[in-house]
């Protein structure tokens, strides 16, 4: 499996990469998932969600994706009547936010190791704990900070997404 594009998270005013997919749990619980177009080997899930922590609560505020029929995936389509903001009350788990420089690139899922992992523990959509895991220090002169994907295959004829 190719390294996967992260979800986007705005937390304390910072734009971060989220190595977790809170919508996967929603699709499992709701027992329905729209048929997404496969646009890239780095995006098997077919969408990128934009999330926000606001006053300790997790919200989905945007989604970028394409359905099999070529139409755009929108929040209103997934959550009718909620086109701008969705409270992720269905989600409980530890959200991993890789930070700092890359220590070990692993071309699979979200397996690459970065200097730090910010872990937000969520219970029913509410942040209950914030911890930082230190994984090591990158040598001086190593690459830039931030989440990285070194290779992907864009599937022909469909819009290929890029990290924003």
């Amino acid at each position: 499996m190719t390294a996967q594009m992260p979800e986007r998270l705005t937390y304390k005013g910072e734009k971060l990469s989220l190595a977790e997919q809170p919508l996967s749990a929603f699709f499992k619980l709701a027992r329905s998932k729209p048929a997404m177009a496969e646009t890239s080997s780095a995006l098997w899930r077919g969408y990128i969600g934009s999330w926000e922590i606001n006053d300790g609560r997790l919200y989905l505020i945007d989604i970028d994706g394409e359905l099999e029929d070529g139409s755009a995936l929108t929040l209103d389509l997934l959550f009718p009547g909620f086109p701008d903001r969705v409270f992720a009350h269905w989600y409980s788990g530890d959200m991993r936010i890789p930070q700092g420089k890359l220590l070990d690139y692993i071309h699979a899922g979200y397996a690459s190791v970065y200097e730090r992992d910010l872990i937000l523990s969520i219970e029913c959509g509410v942040v209950v704990r914030e911890t930082v895991r230190h994984n090591g220090k990158a040598p001086k002169g190593s690459g830039p900070e931030g989440y990285r994907i070194e290779a992907l295959t864009a599937f022909g004829g469909r819009k290929a997404r890029t990290q924003k």
Partner: protein, 165 residues
Amino acid sequence: MIWVFGYLTLGALSGVLLLMTNYDDLRHDFSFENLVAFVLAVIILLTLWPFLAFYLIYDSVVRRLRVRPKPAFKILRRELGQALSIEAVEANERVEDPLGAVPALPFGHLNPAWVQFRAGLASGSQLAPFSKIHKDGITERYVGYAEVGNGPVTRWFFTSIRRIA
């Protein structure tokens, strides 16, 4: 003598097969190293092909034996909490949000799935909460409500799935 000839012929056939399947790669990516690697592979195939064949057969048999059916999720009656009426469950499971980003319905954004589940319940059914760890490749904690009856538990509704490991 005929056995040796037969042995080498089978090895040579495997080499031809290897050449045919890799012809495009060799042609487009021709280098001395690739050629040496290919010649070595042919020599190994020519002389040691029974070991390769044995390995391939052994690997496929072992892999097939290792594939076990996934454990089905099930809930036992003793794993259930106190039974509640459907109305009580719906009253307990209202989700509130100060920004109004959730419908004012039982189970919030999961309401369509709940409505579907409830439609399959007999009138007067009772539901009991459960929280159970299930392993299916990954380990997850499933939380929800199950219909309480006299027999085994067969109907349930998940409200949360949390990955543990």
